[in-house]
């Protein structure tokens, strides 16, 4: 399957992240799955007129297009003219190019939260009238409309994240190429369920601190960041702590809060990103699927049962108390 990759209102970070794919030969992994590039702005030799001719041939139906990947938000401003991004060399708004190309594509993939929902590009007053391909924040619609399906019958596949994990993009493209991504494989927001049906909390190295509500209080503390530091890992849909970033990383392993960047509207949480909003001392955003009364009861119980090791390490930047050494096997009768 051929892939055309277009960039608009974004930072290019999803492409930069994709190049961090865990592969000794990125290009070979791509082609081994039966994927080939029609054009990618960072990776292709073609420039200028060659590219415009390619886009025109796709638009005219002369060049088949299997997968259209869009990175970056659709900039509809000012006043819905799209003039905040005219594709270079064409004097035509990128939003018009994207509408035309999406109509011809077998599959349409929104790479990153900007292309999916608008993302950070739409934050605050949204001066540029940024939106996603099929969503405007949580509202279905966006550039292509709520009822859009591509030639394959799928809606826009929303590989949300800011940026996207290289594995999410590679797995999505490979699954499309191998006909292994169908509507049932997408969640209700159009995200591939292979990564969106999990929580960032799963596999978090701070889970023992979470169990005892032993919380970090300042940057570099090892404790759980849910209570004070704004962490949304218990609510955010992604596999960041089981499919690690850049070798052994994730946001929580890097010592900063998960801001739930795969979620529509994450850019405007209504509070400072690094602080947990609370009501009567209790965090407003409780873990997904957990009844509030039980959470409060368990939290107060576990806080009172916190071992000294966990309590002290939570507010240190390196473990100061090591686990006690004890035999874990059964005692022999003679002992």
């Amino acid at each position: 399957m051929n892939v055309l990759w277009m960039q608009s209102g974004g930072c290019g970070g999803c492409t930069m992240s994709l190049l961090c794919a865990d592969a000794p030969d990125f290009a070979a992994q791509f082609s081994a799955a039966g994927l080939s590039w029609l054009w990618h702005p960072s990776l292709s030799p073609q420039s200028g007129a060659e590219v415009i001719r390619l886009l025109e041939r796709i638009d005219a139906g002369e060049q088949p297009l299997d997968i259209l990947c869009v990175e970056g938000a659709v900039l509809r401003g000012p006043n819905r003219t799209g003039r905040f991004h005219l594709l270079a060399g064409t004097q035509v708004p990128m939003m018009d190019w994207l509408t035309r190309l999406a109509r011809r594509a077998r599959h349409v993939v929104a790479v990153g939260s900007c292309a999916a929902w608008g993302g950070i590009s739409a934050t605050g007053a949204n001066l540029t009238q940024a939106c996603g391909l099929q969503y405007e924040d949580t509202r279905p619609g966006g550039l292509l409309g709520p009822d859009f399906t591509s030639a394959s019958g799928l809606p826009v596949v929303n590989v949300a994240g800011c940026p996207t994990h290289p594995g999410w993009v590679m797995d999505t493209l490979m699954a499309l190429a191998l006909d292994q991504l169908h509507r049932i494989d997408l969640d209700e927001l159009g995200r591939p369920r292979f990564y969106a049906d999990q929580l960032v909390h799963h596999g978090c190295t701070r889970n023992e601190f979470y169990e005892f509500k032993a919380s970090a209080e300042k940057p570099s503390d090892l404790g759980c960041m849910m209570e004070h530091m704004g962490c949304k890992g218990t609510q955010a849909h992604a596999d960041c702590n089981t499919r690690l970033w850049n070798g052994e990383g994730s946001c929580t392993r890097g010592g900063f809060a998960c801001i739930s960047c795969t979620e529509p509207g994450f850019q405007d949480p209504g509070h400072a990103y690094h602080q947990t909003p609370k009501l009567a001392g209790i965090p407003i955003g409780l873990p997904t699927d957990m009844p509030k009364a039980w959470f409060v009861a368990l939290a107060s119980l576990s806080k009172s049962a916190t071992p000294r090791r966990v309590r002290e390490n939570a507010t240190s930047d390196h473990p100061t108390v090591a686990p006690t050494i004890r035999r874990t096997g059964l005692r022999r009768p003679s002992e």
């Binding site: 960039q7 608009s8 209102g9 974004g10 930072c11 290019g12 970070g13 492409t15 930069m16 190049l19 961090c20 592969a23 000794p24 990125f26 290009a27 990618h40 960072s42 030799p45 073609q46 420039s47 200028g48 007129a49 900039l75 003219t81 003039r83 905040f84 991004h85 594709l87 270079a88 060399g89 035509v92 708004p93 018009d96 190019w97 950070i120 934050t123 605050g124 001066l127 940026p163 300042k218 940057p219 570099s220 690690l244 970033w245 850049n246 070798g247 052994e248 990383g249 994730s250 946001c251 392993r253 890097g254 010592g255 900063f256 809060a257 400072a272 990103y273 690094h274 930047d317 390196h318």
Partner: protein, 508 residues
């Protein structure tokens, strides 16, 4: 399709010629259009159009100051950490704090990691594939260039491009450890690093540095980094390239052969002054020092920061107030403004056009090779690319030193400050040059934020005096073969890419 009426472009300020529009440019970060006036087979005048507006400065106003650390890295997927560092420094300046020594070392390690990776990305993925183009098929080095550097999206990508991509991905595992991920980390805060490093992690960092040293010494240079860093002038450089380095299949040596064959030392002549804010802050001074290098005097002077202005005369922004210092500047879109042709303002220092980037950093820092390359004239395609690779050879040993200096057990961060009413300036060096953030805070909220990105300087439009920006001038005289079709503008592409532009930063 419903094309909007094209906004009127500024009239060329040179004798009439054929108008040629080049775009979309690829293998630059973001979208770019260059409008050329071509006469007698060469560029007579150029206008650089940054084709997008994103509005980050206005997004930041009204937010909690710490929100900047989540928002500004997302200006750019390739200079993400550089943006974070500039914001962290501006906030630290506003709060009157500084990171502890370990925090400073982590800041330096992270931005150095990004700078080095960006130099690799530029050389192997963005710049060199142009020499694998069919228009060079008759040159003696072309077959080898194709074998090594054919673009990654080609059916048979170049072996060195593939190897560099793998080395880069492994290199970024440093970021996974130190900053959780790249791009868009949140680990860089004004009071230090949210990530401390343990003894075994420090060993792993050291091992990753050795791994990259291995790649650079076996592929990029074919020589120890110290040998490259010790080259003191063009003669020594070319003699080295012709001998040991060529035998070792050095990429730098092959590029020098290509550059000499195509006389790239005559192409893309830059500005009269080069500026670096100083890279890698140290307790006293910088790893690469700060200053303004003047070609005429060959001397470095301190930067009069108060003399920086942004001139929106040729940009689709309100410019009624005339050029303004970024501490009081504004970015209000005016998409119908007559005479405007880009979404980038024109930064000037004391009204002068500057060039920024690796060559500026190395010249300001006084490296003999960089100085020698600027002795007889301005920056060129040749010297910009040499300086980037020279800097690559110099960055890694600095990182080895900082990793060794991390003090285990000593703090990596202090508690976060509180923000009342304050102003702050944060300066940093992204791979492609000087990056500045100017902010004000009132009642604990950001009330003003202005950013001048490196490519804002290099790719600036004409200012109120009519002076073209650095690239606009550098393109004048570039040959354009009007008989050729698709590769007609390959020399133009070399000039543009030699600046390692980042358009997404430019159009913040």
């Amino acid at each position: 399709m419903s094309p909007s009426p094209p906004p009127p472009a500024a009239a060329p300020d040179s004798p009439a010629g054929r108008r040629v529009i080049v775009g979309p440019f690829n293998r630059v970060e973001g979208d770019l259009e260059v409008r050329l006036t071509v006469a007698q087979g060469m560029v007579a005048a150029a206008e650089v159009n940054a084709t997008m507006f994103r509005g980050f400065e206005s997004m930041l106003v009204g937010r909690h100051p710490m929100d900047a650390l989540t928002i500004v890295p997302r200006i750019c997927g390739i200079c993400s950490v550089s943006q974070s560092i500039a914001a962290a420094r501006a906030l630290a300046d506003a709060a009157g704090i500084a990171p502890p020594p370990n925090g400073q070392r982590m800041h330096n390690l992270m931005i150095a990691c990004e700078n080095l990776a960006d130099h690799l990305t530029h050389f192997y993925l963005f710049f060199m594939p142009d020499f694998a183009r069919a228009c060079y098929a008759h040159r003696p080095w072309h077959a080898e260039a194709r074998k090594r550097y054919a673009a990654l999206a080609e059916p048979e990508p170049g072996a060195r491009s593939v190897a560099a991509t793998a080395a880069r991905a492994r290199w970024f595992e440093l970021m996974g450890l130190m900053g959780g991920r790249w791009p868009h980390t949140g680990s860089l805060v004004p009071s230090g690093s949210t990530r401390a490093v343990t003894a075994s992690e420090r060993l792993r960092l050291w091992a990753k540095l050795r791994e990259m040293r291995g790649f650079l010494e076996s592929h990029t240079f074919g020589a120890p980094l110290e040998t490259v860093a010790a080259l003191s002038d063009a003669t020594a450089l070319l003699a080295w390239a012709d001998g040991d380095a060529r035998r070792a299949q050095s990429d730098l040596a092959l590029w020098l052969e290509i550059a000499q064959d195509l006389t790239l030392e005559r192409l893309g002549r830059g500005a009269k002054q080069l500026m670096s804010y100083g890279a890698f802050a140290a307790p006293s001074g910088f790893g690469f020092s700060s200053g303004l290098f003047d070609l005429a005097t060959q001397a470095v002077t301190p930067i009069p920061l108060s003399a920086i202005t942004e001139d929106a005369r040729s940009a689709w922004f309100d410019s009624a107030t005339g050029p303004l210092h970024p501490s009081v500047g504004s970015t209000v879109p005016a998409p119908d403004k007559p005479g405007a042709y880009t979404w980038n303002k024109a930064p000037r220092l004391d009204g002068q056009v500057l060039e920024v980037g690796a060559l500026a950093r190395q010249a300001v820092d006084g490296h003999p090779l960089a100085r020698a390359l600027l002795q007889d004239g301005p920056a060129t395609v040749f010297s910009r690319v040499v300086a980037r690779l020279l800097e690559t050879a110099r960055i890694l040993p600095l990182m080895e030193r900082w990793v060794g200096a991390l003090e285990l057990g000593a703090p990596f961060a202090k508690p976060l400050p509180t923000f009342g009413r304050a102003h702050g300036v944060g300066l940093a060096e992204a791979a492609r040059g000087a990056l500045g953030h100017w902010l004000s805070i009132e009642d604990g909220r950001i009330s003003h934020y202005q950013i001048i990105a490196p490519t804002s300087w290099n790719f600036s439009p004409r200012d109120s005096q009519g002076s073209p920006g650095a690239l606009e001038s550098a393109l004048v005289g570039t040959p354009v073969d009007e008989r050729a079709s698709d590769d007609a503008h390959v020399a133009v592409q070399h000039v543009v890419r030699s600046f390692d532009p980042c358009m997404v930063c430019t159009v913040h």
